[in-house]
Subunit: 173 residues, 2 copies
DNA sequence: GTGTGTGGCTAACGCCGTTAGCCATGACCG
DNA sequence: CGGTCATGGCTAACGGCGTTAGCCACACAC
C-alpha cells in the first residue's frame, strides 16, 4: 500500500506536493525541492530515478484522493450525479496545480498502483447505472468545466454554478 | 487584420507552428525555431519580445481557425449542435499540440485580436438558442472529450464516438 | 574490524530562455 | 554623392533547468 516508497521517498513526495500546491508547476524544480528538504538536488536521485517519477507519485495521490472523495459521497448520497460532480469539482479546485499536473498529460498507467484508475472511475460509473458512454460523457463534462475554470477560460463574470447545473440536469433523467 | 505582424514575424510564426505540430511543445524551442529559419536564436528577439509572444500568435491562429470552422458548419447546417461538435473535435484532433498549447493555460486576452474570443464562441451560443449556461456546458463537454482523448486518458479501447453521441443527445432537446 | 549499502556532497554537462553589444546592409535625406 | 539610421543578423555570455559522475561518511552485518 504505502510500501511503494521508502520513508525518505515519502518525505520527498510530501515536500514536492507542498511545493507544487504553493508555488505552481514552474517552481516544482529538483533544486528548489531539494532546498526545501535541506539537501542538494543530485541527492534526490538516490531516491527517485528522475523528476518524472516524483510527479507520478503526485498523480497517484490525486487519483487516490479523488477515489476516496467520490466513494465517501457515494456512501452518503448513493446514485447522485450532482453530489459526485460537486465533490469532484471541490477537490479539483482545492488543488488546482495538482489537478492539472495529474490530468494534462498521458496517464503513466504502468507506474501507477494496480486498479487505481478503475477505482477512481467506479463511483461515477455506478451512478450512471453502468452506462459506460454516459459515464465518459459526464466525466468529460466535469473535467472540461474544471480545467476551463482553473485556467480562467470562462469570461471573468461567468456564473459557473448555473452552467454546472445546466450540464448535470441534461445528463440526469 | 494580418498587419498585427511584420512579414518576417509571420514567417517565424509559420515555422513555429510547423515545429509545434510536427515535434510537440517540448521541441518548440527558440533555438530549434531559429535553426529552422536559418538564423540564430537571439535574432528572434528582433521580432518578438519573448517566446510567449510567439505562442500568443499560435493561440490566435487556433482561435481564428476554430471560429472559421464553426462558422462554416453553421452556414451549412444551422442550429446543429452535433455538427458543431464534430467540427470542433475534428479540428482539435487534427492539431493536438496546437490545441493544447492554446487551451491549457490562461487566455492572453490582452494580446489577442479584439473580439476573437467572442467570435469563436458565437456559433455554439447561437446553436444553444442564446442560452449561455447551456453553451458553456456543451463547450466544457466538448473540450473535456477532446483533451481527454488527446492525452489518452480514456481506456485504449474506448469507443469515443458513442460517448460523444451520448453526451450530445443529452444536451439536445 | 572490516566490508557494504545508504544517502549525502561537489563539479560538471548540455540544454533552455534571454541579454548585451557588435556589425553589415540598405533606405532616406541633405 | 555622403551621412544617418533603422533593420536584422551575429557572438558571447548569464543564470536556471534536469541529470550524471564520482567521491565520501556513516551505520550496520558478518
Amino acid at each position: 500500500m504505502t510500501d511503494r516508497l521508502t520513508p525518505r521517498a515519502r518525505e520527498i513526495v510530501t515536500a514536492a506536493r507542498a511545493l507544487l500546491e504553493e508555488a505552481g508547476p514552474d517552481r516544482l524544480t529538483m533544486r528548489t525541492l531539494a532546498d526545501r528538504l535541506g539537501i542538494k538536488a543530485p541527492s534526490l536521485y538516490k531516491h527517485f530515478p528522475d523528476k518524472h517519477a516524483v510527479e507520478v507519485e503526485l498523480v497517484a495521490q490525486l487519483l487516490t484522493e479523488t477515489a476516496e472523495v467520490l466513494e465517501a459521497v457515494e456512501a452518503r448520497a448513493p446514485g447522485s450525479l450532482s453530489a459526485l460532480a460537486g465533490a469532484y469539482r471541490g477537490h479539483a479546485l482545492a488543488h488546482p496545480h495538482l489537478y492539472c499536473l495529474a490530468t494534462e498529460r498521458p496517464l503513466p498507467r504502468e507506474s501507477l498502483p494496480a486498479g487505481l484508475e478503475d477505482r477512481a472511475a467506479l463511483p461515477l460509473l455506478r451512478a450512471c447505472g453502468g452506462d459506460l458512454d454516459l459515464a465518459r460523457a459526464v466525466w468529460a463534462f466535469a473535467h472540461g468545466m474544471v480545467v476551463l475554470e482553473i485556467h480562467g477560460r470562462f469570461p471573468p463574470d461567468a456564473g459557473l454554478d448555473a452552467a454546472w447545473k445546466r450540464g448535470l440536469s441534461a445528463f440526469h433523467p
